[in-house]
Subunit: 251 residues, 2 copies
């Protein structure tokens, strides 16, 4: 058994007997299986959430302040932020959300100077990729999996150059199959985007959050429509599932 | 030492050595000190949050559906709901928020048939009282502490008659002293509203959440302005502090 097989074996064992373990147990098993290093939060550290509509979650774009619910939206970024702000109250973190609905990687790149580099985050969390695939189906977007890989690579290379000490968190793009927008035609093409995000996380030594595995396992507690309305956008329960995973990546 | 003294003694001991314990530790110590029975959640149970602006927290009033972030707002009700929906995914709870900004007890009573009794909650969580005091200062409201006691007693008597099996949670009205709106003139008058809510909770065998003690202790981790913008409305961190306490009242 080589180390990769062994890792998968351990992951399957730890997630296998699902009926016996709770949802928080599922999340911690999935995060632990990644064996990535945990993020540390320094005093007055800046945390930035970046991505598409899943991150955006209805935030008010005219709110520039840190830590307000208007500025954080009502999705996983708010929920992860509220958990961090409570648990690490003494650190006086500044948490921002600059996700924008509909964004693909090239659109993050277009606004990266203002919406990321100028903010000088100590922790940068990115979740992007579902639109890079989804919009090829019906929004006339011509990007391919290679476009996603190349664009994401360039974005992170540029980020590392500008912010050499930033701690990166990369979320796995995910979709919940057989819920509304997500049907068989997504597969196996969409799986390549998940794999690409994982490879990019490895290359840039980012902490990787395996959202797809976590949603897959959560289906054993409640059906897909409980976790997402349309297969792509998480429900309140789905957002909290993500926030729980996110927080487990922090020391 | 009588039982009440003993209870206070135990509470002080358990909360005493604060530097050594975390915020979640503070919350669990404060909730445990109340020794009230914990709420149980049945399958497909209905949970209703009621109260004023602290509960409302910007919810969209044209959203009638359960469990959506639009309908739940972005305060402690959303955060407690998201935690419940994750932890108890298999139960398919239906969670509603009908808090309305500015409400005092008599205004809950005015809309109680529609916004509470018709919803037939299994768990009813009420937080009301700060406006019953605050609006006497500058909104020309003439109610007294006795009005608050009498109105709250009538509301709960009516609730018990219509919903004999409802599990009640009553939150302690709280204010964070020396933050913006909350100055010395609030005291000791406002303390009577806190005591009245506790007495009402005892009378109706409700689970009582000691929010004031929890905010008081949280001040040892971060200043008042970290937990509330104006002394009355919680920040994201303050809302999560409340949600943590709320969830600890559930089995």
């Amino acid at each position: 058994m080589n180390s990769s097989n062994r890792r998968n074996f351990l992951r399957n064992v730890s997630l296998g007997s699902l009926a016996a373990i709770s949802i928080p147990g599922i999340v911690s098993a999935a995060v632990a299986a990644e064996k990535t290093k945990k993020i540390t939060l320094k005093k007055e550290g800046i945390v930035l959430f970046q991505g598409d509509s899943i991150t955006d979650a209805g935030r008010k774009r005219d709110h520039e302040e840190a830590n307000s619910s208007a500025a954080l939206g009502s999705g996983y970024a708010l929920m992860a932020a509220s958990g961090l702000l409570l648990k690490h109250a003494g650190k006086h973190l500044k948490i921002y959300n600059k996700g924008i609905s509909g964004n693909k990687v090239f659109q993050l790149a277009d606004r990266w100077d203002v919406d990321c580099l100028a903010i000088k985050p100590d922790v940068l969390s990115i979740l992007v990729g579902v639109n890079d695939y989804w919009h090829t189906l019906n929004n006339n977007y011509k990007g391919t999996i290679q476009t996603y890989r190349d664009d994401y690579d360039k974005l992170l290379s540029r980020t590392r150059a500008a912010l050499p000490d930033v701690q990166l968190i990369i979320g796995e793009p995910f979709a919940v199959r057989d819920v509304k927008s997500v049907d068989d035609k997504w597969y196996p093409a969409f799986d390549e985007y998940r794999a690409a995000a994982r490879a990019i996380a490895d290359k840039y030594e980012a902490t990787f959050i395996p959202y797809q595995s976590i949603f897959d396992k959560a289906l054993q507690s409640a059906p897909g429509a409980y976790w997402t309305g349309d297969g792509v956008h998480p429900s309140v329960a789905g957002a909290q599932l993500m926030a729980e995973a996110w927080q487990q990546c922090v020391k």
